[in-house]
Symmetry: C2
Subunit: 515 residues, 2 copies
């Protein structure tokens, strides 16, 4: 396998887009458009439009849907159209302004806000206890919050997309919160931010950039250090690989060996045809790279959603899904080929229900993808795959190719150093210790994104809540009867810390009033 | 006197532009362009171009002039041209990276950076003691740092001016510092920010927005609270008025009475002609408003530069210039008319050297002014003049007129609430206490801008250094043999605090290294 850039970048994206997996064409572009279609299925509800029903395995949450007019560029006075930012709001439990009722705000990330709202059960569950208002503003350029009147116009080209940046999104939140509080006469009410994944990064960065807007943030699975050379670029794939190795060394080894087996098979006469059959694709494979991408994508997702109980976060999956994958890979009876064993394993991810007859690789192109644009502009997260510790094909991150492919794709030049200039990153622990406060960085160590996050307490008010057996922002999900004790305890700790922020704030407020 | 909006807005501008005084036309626009010429002389070196020699009463400072390529919009990926940001740099005393030599950076504000550099003697004087690198980046859209190739193009219209915002300027500094440090292999060297007036606001806001970029800021005369209703809108003019009253109640009363006397005289036959003669204007006055503006402007400046020793900050002036104004106003022998006494007083400001034969009101229009644009977009500082405490004509700030006049002038709509959304302001003391650190707010209470600044210690690391007899960022000026003891002590305190920041930082660095 030659250039695996697309594969490795994929990992940087999947957590966020959940299956907008970049693909690779013969010209080695890692994005889908260079050959007119993406290589990976887009299963994710993250890409659902509002007209599609949400999955019904979550509790039913009630909210009002409202809209707020936002500037397209907060930081210039260029004559640009405004756009309508959607937000969901629930007043059921709010104590109101007189009692300094808190406002819990989810920092919408790259997807439909309804999906995030209904997947953040933790907020819904603790709202009654805190007497909190719940509000979920959507991230610009996602869901219904489209500039220029609609998705097609907003995603037309680099020029219309150019205001899809993190700083603009944070300013959206700041303006939105300020206005909401004023309209509710709730200027004195404390705001607590929540966010998972990229949303967690937004929540943490809000605390750094707008400390006057919110008193604290629960940043779950927020890889704010996954930039430049702050963490080794191998981190992500090493963690995915370790998640498999901890379940079974032979499973790890089988996967590691499978890439060569796939290439070898593909080079034989009718090899692609046989691979198509082995892996149950609906249409014939065009290259073994497509297959490798499809498999790698599944492994990375599996690591993220390696939850201790059955869940339907991205796909319906058993509890400890990697354990199940490895059981199938390992337990296939003797004589089963390595490729059959790989297929048996990956079916846990792609077809756990057993309802899928054949797999499609390009079933929903959708055109330009928002996160792809963000990855090609600000969110440059270098990823490599090491020869030693990774079960994935070896790859060294190459910024020149990355840049070139972004140019081909969007006609933009990435700014790989901008995020750390704007938000910090190098020496972040010193900075957070000296200048930050009231952030919880929660992480599960099975989550490959945990490697780019904050895993130890920085100060009394910047705390890390790390669970050895946790995965991608598990803490934000609704509680279930199957929750292990460590998860129950993690959420209890979060509640205690948040309560502490609110108590301190109220105490400070009251002492200021009485002065 | 009818609409005094122009006059009152003037005060919001003069500190920064030093004489880009907005004017009033018959259509009541407060800016100069509505009638093709400004009403006030533009004496200030703040508007000098680099081809004009700087005043030679300052010590000679040596620096290299360099240029740095900046994005026009840091917060979007719109396809815009870059521009060249000028900066001045001096390495003479720098300890270098190995010894963690500090970098002292002046946050360039709305004018030619050479003028700020040569008027910030304090930085030059303390650099040897600290082994500091000195660097003075220029603010975009001022001096030589012009987007679109030059001043004429940059100031062509609202569209070309639209990137003249505070957030873009702060991002310029952040990108510039990051790049400079990398080029000097000085990533570990602590940066300390300095700034006076709007530059002081930039320095303080840099600490809030980019705590990872600089370890502390000396924000001198930085009215970060002069927005919305955070301080009473009468504050500025009340302080100016008090500066006069403390010298002489009769002087205060004479000035307060003079406005009616001027109006009355102007309404008489040949009144404007007689006023022209009394006040030595080169050309005949067109309205008494012009004269009132000319006088008000002088009084406000006088309050800002009410220094205890002779200085040539904006104009050559004696020590305690208000005392001298009032001496002349009060001491005119009996029988001298009120208008003659007013003229005698104001001549301290406009003609202390006695070299000016007659005064011009419109000698250097220059077209659109950068600070006017900033005042019409983000920097909306409401100012009123009260009937009771002010010696100025009564005026109530009227946002609707303000907005209308900004539209007429620039075709922009101000965002009066944006600054506090972006940087905080309401309840700023709580915010600074909880979330900020390492800022010195220095102020002199004679300075009318002190009313919108931070005048008390907020925490151990956010300190206010207030001098009763100080005026507008006097502490940043070079020391002189006439410096009173309180000024010497203020500067010593600043040095101690800055030394403390650097010591803590080095200690932290070393303990991190040795971990």
């Amino acid at each position: 396998m030659a250039d695996r850039l697309h594969l490795l970048l994929l990992a940087a994206l999947i957590v966020f887009t959940a299956s907008s997996a970049p693909s690779k064409s013969s010209t080695s572009s890692f994005f889908s458009l260079s050959n007119g279609s993406p290589r990976f299925p887009r299963y994710s509800v993250w890409h659902r439009t509002s007209t599609q029903p949400l999955r019904r395995d979550q509790p039913e949450y009630q909210y009002e849907t409202r809209y707020f007019s936002q500037r397209l560029d907060h930081f210039s006075f260029a004559d640009l159209p405004t756009f309508s930012q959607r937000y969901l709001i629930n007043f059921d439990h709010w104590l109101g302004p007189a009692r300094l009722g808190p406002i819990f705000l989810y920092c919408g990330n790259e997807g439909d806000i309804e999906w995030f709202a209904t997947n953040s059960g933790f907020m819904w569950e603790i709202a009654p206890k805190f007497g909190a208002l719940l509000v979920f503003p959507e991230h610009r350029y996602y869901g219904e919050s489209m500039p220029f009147g609609g998705r097609e116009e907003a995603y037309k080209n680099a020029s219309t997309l150019s205001y899809l940046t993190t700083e603009q999104a944070l300013a959206d939140f700041a303006v939105f919160i300020t206005d909401l509080k004023r309209n509710l006469s709730a200027e004195s009410c404390p705001v607590v931010l929540f966010g998972g994944s990229y949303g967690g990064m937004l929540a943490a960065w809000m605390r750094l950039k707008y400390p006057h807007i919110a008193i604290g943030a629960l940043a779950s699975s927020a890889p704010i250090l996954q930039f430049e050379d702050i963490v080794p670029p191998e981190t992500f794939y090493d963690i995915v690989s370790n998640d498999f190795r901890r379940e079974s060394t032979s499973c790890f080894n089988t996967i590691k060996e499978s890439w060569d087996a796939i290439t070898e098979e593909g080079q034989k006469e009718n090899g692609l045809q046989r691979l198509t059959k082995t892996f149950h694709f609906c249409r014939e494979l065009k290259s073994t790279d497509d297959l490798a991408d499809w498999l790698s994508s599944a492994y990375s997702y599996l690591a993220m959603v390696d939850y201790p109980y059955p869940a339907n976060f991205m796909m319906p999956m058993p509890g400890h899904p990697i354990r199940e994958v490895c059981r199938r890979v390992d337990e296939s009876h003797d004589g089963t080929s390595i490729l059959d064993r790989i297929f048996a394993g990956v079916s846990v991810y792609y077809n756990y229900t057993g309802n899928v007859g054949c797999f499609k690789l390009d079933d929903d192109p959708h055109g330009l993808d928002g996160w792809d644009f963000q990855a090609c502009t600000e969110m440059v997260m270098p990823m490599s795959s090491s020869k030693e510790n990774s079960m994935f094909p070896t790859y060294d991150f190459n910024y020149s190719s990355y840049k070139e492919e972004c140019w081909d794709m969007f006609r933009v030049i990435p700014r790989p150093r901008w995020i750390t200039t704007e938000f910090g990153g190098h020496g972040i622990e010193t900075i957070l210790k000296m200048f930050g406060s009231n952030i919880i960085f929660s992480n599960g160590l099975l989550d490959p994104w945990s490697g780019g996050s904050i895993l130890k307490n920085i100060s009394e008010t910047i705390v890390a809540l790390v669970t050895k057996e946790g995965a991608h922002h598990l803490d934000l999900r609704p509680s279930t009867p199957e929750d292990p004790q460590w998860l129950v305890e993690q959420r209890e700790a979060e509640i205690r810390v948040i309560q502490g922020w609110i108590n301190s704030y109220r105490k400070e407020k009251i002492s200021t009033f009485s002065m």
